[in-house]
C-alpha cells in the first residue's frame, strides 16, 4: 500500500516560468497591455536604431508625402520623416511619464503616508491641501501653471505632476490608515522605530501594490494630457518631435494630408490604451476581489 507521500505521480510544484505563463494566459488585458507598454519602452530606448531618418532633417523637396517604402508614415510639411519622428516621440513620452508620475510620487506619497499615520491636525491640513489641488481639472491647473512658468515641456510636466499629487496623496493616506493598526507596525513602534522608518519600511512596502496600479493608470493620463497641451501650443515647442505638437502641424493640413495627424494620434492612443489595459490587468491580478 502506498501513501500519498511515496507516490511520485503527484504534480511537481509549478515552476516560476509556468506560473507566469498561467498568469499571462488568464489575465489577457495584463498581457496585451504589458506587451504594448514594453513596445513603447523599447521604441523609446532604441529610437536611434529604429529610426530610418534623422527626425529633424528637413528636405523641402519631399514635403507632405504619403506613406511609402522610403517613408513608412510619409513626411511632414518640412519633409521630415514622420515614422522617425514618432519613434523619437516615444522617448519624450517616456520622459513625460518619468517626470510627471515621478514628481507626483515623490511628493504625494510621503505627504499621504504622514497624513494617514499621524491623523489629527496634520491629517486635516494635508487633506485640505490635497482637496484644493484635486478641485482643479487637470488641464486647467496645468494651463494655469504653464501660464505662470512659461510654455515649455518641462514646465508642462511640473504642472501635470502637481495635479497628480493628490491622486497618490489620497491613496497612500488611505493605505497608511489601514496599515497603521496592523501588528507589525505596532511591533515596530514598540521597538522604538522612528516615524519615517515606520512609514517607509513597514507601511509603504506593504502598500506598494495599489500604488503601482495607480501609477500605471496615471501614466496614460500623463501622456494624454501632455499631448493635449502640446497640441494647443502650451507644451513642447517645434521642432521637438512630441506627438501632440506634431498633430498641431496636421491641423494646418486638413483635407490635404491626413497622415500628419493620423499617425501621431495612433501613437498616443496606443500608449494610453497600453497603460490602461496594463493597469486594469495589474489591479485584477493584485486585487482579485474586484
Amino acid at each position: 500500500m502506498t501513501t500519498l507521500a511515496d507516490s511520485d505521480d503527484l504534480p511537481a510544484a509549478p515552476s516560476r516560468a509556468r506560473r507566469l505563463g498561467r498568469i499571462l494566459r488568464r489575465h489577457r488585458s495584463l498581457t496585451i497591455g504589458g506587451a504594448m507598454v514594453l513596445l513603447l519602452v523599447l521604441a523609446g530606448l532604441l529610437a536611434p536604431l529604429l529610426a530610418t531618418h534623422d527626425p529633424t532633417q528637413q528636405s523641402l523637396a519631399t514635403a507632405l508625402r504619403p506613406p511609402s517604402a522610403e517613408h513608412f508614415f510619409g513626411t511632414d510639411q518640412y519633409g521630415r520623416d514622420l515614422y522617425s519622428r514618432i519613434v523619437y516621440g516615444a522617448r519624450l513620452s517616456l520622459l513625460e511619464i518619468v517626470l510627471g508620475v515621478g514628481i507626483a510620487l515623490v511628493v504625494g506619497i510621503p505627504l499621504g503616508l504622514l497624513a494617514g499615520y499621524s491623523g489629527g491636525r496634520v491629517d486635516q491640513v494635508i487633506i485640505w491641501f490635497m482637496d484644493i489641488l484635486f478641485a482643479f481639472p487637470g488641464i486647467v491647473l496645468s494651463i494655469l501653471i504653464v501660464s505662470i512658468l512659461g510654455t515649455s515641456l518641462v514646465n508642462l510636466m511640473i504642472g501635470i505632476a502637481i495635479f497628480s499629487i493628490p491622486v497618490y496623496g489620497r491613496l497612500s493616506r488611505n493605505l497608511a490608515l489601514a496599515l497603521k493598526q496592523v501588528e507589525y507596525t505596532e511591533a515596530a513602534r514598540a521597538l522604538g522605530a522612528g516615524l519615517w522608518r515606520i512609514l517607509f519600511q513597514h507601511i509603504l512596502r506593504n502598500a506598494l501594490g495599489p500604488i503601482i496600479v495607480q501609477a500605471t493608470l496615471t501614466a496614460g493620463t500623463v501622456v494624454l494630457t501632455a499631448a493635449s497641451l502640446s497640441f494647443l501650443g502650451l507644451g513642447a515647442q517645434p521642432p521637438t518631435p512630441e506627438w501632440g505638437a506634431m498633430m498641431s502641424d496636421g491641423r494646418n493640413f486638413l483635407g490635404v494630408n491626413i497622415w500628419l495627424s493620423l499617425f501621431p494620434g495612433l501613437a498616443i492612443t496606443f500608449s494610453v490604451l497600453g497603460f490602461n489595459l496594463f493597469g486594469d490587468g495589474l489591479r485584477d491580478l493584485l486585487d482579485p476581489r474586484r
Binding site: P137, G138, V140, S147
Partner: protein, 306 residues
C-alpha cells in the same frame, strides 16, 4: 449621513478659499510689477497706477487677497487686457456655448453609455459584452483632439457632411460633442455594467424571477433605477474632466466657449482672464461635485463616503 453632510458643508468654503488663494498667489508669483502685469504691456503709466490702487498693492499681502476676494464676490474680476471688456462679461458671453456643448455631449454619452452597459451586463461574457468592453476601454484611451482631427478630415473636409468650424447651427454640435462625449460614454458604460451585474445577483431579482416576471420587466424596472447611480457619479464627479476636455475640444473646433477663451488668454498673457476663468471654472466644479455627492447619498443611502 448627517455627519457626512456637515463635514462636506464645512469643507466646501475651506476648499474654495484655498483654491482662490492659489489662483491669486499664482499670478503674484510672476516676476515683475503685478500692476503692470494685470494692466497689460501696452497700458499707460496712468492705467498702471490705477491698477496699483485697484489691487491695493500698497497694502499688506493678506489685505490684497481680501480685496481680490471681495471684488470676486461682487463679480468684479477686472478687465481683459486684450478686449478691454470686463472679465465677467467675456465669461458670461461664452459660458452658454460651453454649457450647451456639455449638455449635448453628456446627453449623448448617457444614452449610449447606459444602453451599452446594460447590453454588456445582460449578455455577460458573451460577444456583446466583450464588444462593449473593448469599445469602452478604447473610448477611454482615444485622444479627443485626435478623434476631432480625424472627423474634421473626413466628415467635414473630404465628404463635406458637416461644417468644419464654429457654432452656428445644430450640425456644428455633432463633431465636438462626439469628441467630448466619448470618454464619459465609455466610463458610464463600464459603471452601468458593473452596477447591473451587482444587482442581477441580488435576492430580490431572484424573487422577481420566481414570481414569474419576464427578464424584460426585471431589467427595465430594476436596471433603470440602478443605472442612476453611475450616471450621477460620472456626470457629477467628472464635470471637471469634461470642462478640461472642453478646453481642448473648443480650441480644435473654434468653439466660442470659455475653454478657448482660456487658451487664447494664455497665448496673449491676458492674466485677468486667466485668473477669472480658472476661478470660475474651479468654483463650478467644486459646487457640482458637492451636489453630486449629496445626490448620490440621497439615491443610495448605503453608500458611505469614508
Amino acid at each position: 449621513m448627517k455627519a457626512y453632510l456637515t463635514r462636506k458643508l464645512v469643507a466646501l468654503p475651506l476648499i474654495l478659499l484655498g483654491v482662490s488663494f492659489l489662483i491669486f498667489g499664482a499670478v503674484r508669483m510672476l516676476p515683475g510689477d503685478p500692476a503692470r502685469i494685470m494692466a497689460g504691456p501696452q497700458a499707460t503709466q496712468d492705467a498702471v497706477d490705477g491698477m496699483r490702487t485697484r489691487l491695493g498693492l500698497d497694502q499688506p499681502f493678506l489685505v490684497q487677497y481680501g480685496l481680490f476676494l471681495s471684488n470676486a464676490a461682487q463679480g468684479d474680476f477686472g478687465e481683459s487686457i486684450k478686449s478691454k471688456k470686463p472679465v465677467i462679461d467675456e465669461v458670461s458671453e461664452r459660458f452658454p456655448y460651453t454649457l450647451s456643448l456639455a449638455v449635448v455631449s453628456y446627453a449623448a454619452a448617457i444614452l449610449i453609455g447606459v444602453a451599452a452597459g446594460m447590453l454588456a451586463a445582460v449578455y455577460r461574457n458573451a460577444w456583446p459584452d466583450q464588444a462593449v468592453m473593448i469599445a469602452a476601454i478604447g473610448g477611454a484611451s482615444v485622444a479627443n483632439f485626435w478623434l476631432a482631427l480625424m472627423m474634421m478630415n473626413l466628415l467635414a473636409v473630404r465628404w463635406k457632411w458637416l461644417p468644419l468650424l464654429g457654432a452656428g447651427s445644430w450640425q456644428n454640435y455633432v463633431m465636438p460633442s462626439i469628441a467630448l462625449g466619448l470618454l464619459p460614454a465609455a466610463l458610464i458604460a463600464r459603471m452601468t455594467r458593473s452596477s447591473m451585474l451587482e444587482v442581477i445577483g441580488q435576492d430580490y431579482i431572484r424573487t422577481a424571477r420566481a414570481k414569474g416576471l419576464g427578464p424584460r420587466v426585471i431589467y427595465r424596472k430594476h436596471a433603470l433605477r440602478n443605472a442612476l447611480i453611475p450616471i450621477v457619479t460620472i456626470v457629477g464627479l467628472n464635470f471637471g474632466g469634461l470642462l478640461g476636455g472642453a478646453v481642448v475640444t473648443e480650441s480644435v473646433f473654434n468653439w466660442p466657449g470659455i475653454g478657448r477663451l482660456l487658451v487664447d488668454a494664455v497665448r496673449y498673457r491676458d492674466y485677468p482672464i486667466i485668473q477669472g476663468v480658472t476661478l470660475l471654472t474651479v468654483t463650478s466644479v467644486v459646487v457640482v461635485n458637492f451636489l453630486a455627492d449629496l445626490l448620490i447619498a440621497a439615491i443610495n443611502p448605503r453608500i458611505r463616503f469614508d
